[in-house]
Each structure stands twice: as structure tokens, then as C-alpha cells.
């Protein structure tokens, strides 16, 4: 039986954790589009889910080759959204991690940190611009509309910043590990 859940995540790690908790209860993700998750009921714990950020859009030749590779390796791509993809693998085949050595983990986290940094930075720029416009327009006796608009961007910055920092920390920790281990 299929059913839908509407939910919004800013943090892909929390999202991945939630998907795995759902899978443990026998609810397996089969489709996703913005805020809308489609689950199918099945055997509890049958699949392990992983979310990854691709370097290119899923429709590009590079990404198609990568997704085909995954499918040949026993990993299904259940959904994609912009550059994000949702992979799953049968839990019976053992642990499922996309990356198994320090170097590839570092480049995986760097890719995501850059993505978060770019979106966060853009929102920060828009937020500052709106505050600036709001202040200069408002001072003439008009409304401070732009300042109110900027709140949305400030919220996004506030949500993305901790994620950005946690990724930078992860990269730093792994780089330290690399001095001692492979």
C-alpha cells in the first residue's frame, strides 16, 4: 500500500535519518518531489537509504553514468530532486555507505559544504540588500517593507549556517584523521 507524507527538511542528514527510521518500520520511500514523500509498505528494515548531492543534474551524461553504475552495484535510485538523489540498498547485503575511505568522504562533504555555502551566501547578500533598501526607503517616511521581506532570507541564513559549520568541522576532523590513517 502506498501513502504520502508532506514534510519539509532543511537538513539532508536529518532527512536521511528519518527515511531510515521509516524504513525500519517497514515504510520505504519510492518517490519524492519538493516536500512530498511517497512510501510503500513492506518488510521492516528491508532497505537502507542514503542521500547524495550529485555534481551535475541527474539528466546529464555524467550523472546518468553514475546512477547506472549504482544500479549495477545493487543500489536503486528511487528519486532525484534538482541535484539531490535518493539511493537505497537491500539491508540483507550488508552495511551501505556510499564512501568508504577518508579522501572520498572529504570530497563528498566538501561538495555539500560548497552547495550550502553558496545558497547561504546568496541569501545573506539578499538579506543585507533588503535591510539596506528598507532603511533608506523607510527613513523617508515610507514603510520598511524590505526589512520585513529580508526576514525570510535571515531565517534561511540562520538555518543553513549551523549546517555549513558542522560540515566544515567534519572536513577538519577527517583531515586530521588523514595524518594518522589512510
Amino acid at each position: 500500500m502506498k501513502f504520502k507524507v508532506y514534510k519539509l527538511f532543511m537538513n539532508y542528514e536529518r532527512e536521511e535519518k528519518w527515511l531510515n527510521e521509516m524504513a525500519a518500520k517497514g515504510m520505504h520511500l519510492v518517490d519524492f518531489s519538493f516536500g512530498r514523500y511517497v512510501f510503500e509498505e513492506g518488510t521492516p528494515g528491508e532497505y537502507i537509504y542514503r542521500i547524495e548531492l550529485l555534481e551535475n543534474l541527474p539528466s546529464s551524461a555524467e550523472s546518468r553514468a553514475y546512477i547506472r553504475w549504482m544500479e549495477e552495484s545493487g543500489v536503486d535510485c528511487v528519486a532525484s530532486y534538482i541535484r539531490w538523489v535518493y539511493f537505497r540498498k537491500k539491508a540483507s547485503e550488508g552495511p551501505f555507505d556510499l564512501y568508504s575511505d577518508i579522501d572520498s568522504k572529504i570530497s563528498h562533504y566538501k561538495k555539500i559544504a560548497m552547495f550550502i555555502g553558496l545558497i547561504g551566501g546568496l541569501n545573506l547578500a539578499v538579506a543585507l540588500l533588503n535591510v539596506f533598501i528598507g532603511l533608506s526607503v523607510g527613513s523617508g517616511g515610507y514603510t520598511y517593507a524590505n526589512i520585513y521581506i529580508s526576514i525570510v532570507n535571515w531565517i534561511l541564513v540562520a538555518l543553513l549556517l549551523p549546517m555549513f559549520i558542522s560540515h566544515i568541522r567534519k572536513i577538519k576532523t577527517l583531515e586530521k584523521e588523514k595524518l594518522l590513517f589512510e
Binding site: S73, L98, Y99, S104
Partner: protein, 110 residues
Amino acid sequence: MPPKDQNALTEGVYYILIALHTPLHGYGIMQFVKEVSDERVNLGPGTLYGAINTMLEKNWIVATATDADTRKKEYVITDVGREVVQTEMKRLEELLENGRKITGVESDEV
């Protein structure tokens, strides 16, 4: 020819190169490495994908004809790749020998 001062291989790359002494596709490599390392080394598909592409660029491995039944691409080690493995084995032997000599501990005592 691999350079004399060849850097240490990652254990994943080392095992992939050993695996490819017989032609295998990606999934086959993962299974082989898992089996031969007694499930200790579990290659992530993302890591393996990156490693294979880099090794293809370096000509350590080549893609052979695609498997007719499964349509999966198979890879095999080249002469350059074999030399890389042999250089690495010499390096590992040196490490092990010096470790044994100095600590006086044989591997079966650990």
C-alpha cells in the same frame, strides 16, 4: 613504469587491483574485496566509482568488452597496473619485515 618513489596505495585501491587480475564488473569487485578481506573492507560504491575512473585515466586498468548477459562493463588490470601492485607489495613486505624484526612480534602472535 610506476615511479620508484610510488606513494602508498589505499587499501581499497590495492584490493581493487588484485581483484582485477581476472576481469570483473563493479559489483564483482565489491564482492571479491569483501570476501578476500573476510568482510573487513567494504568498498562504498561511490568510492569505487571514483577509484575506477582515476585508475582508467592512469591506465592501471582498462575496460574490456561488456558482459553480454548483464550488459555490465568489465575491467581488467594492465601491465602498468601489475607493476604498481608489485611495487606496493615490496613496500608492504619491507614494512612487515622491519616491524617483526624490531618488535619481535610475529603476525600469528597478534
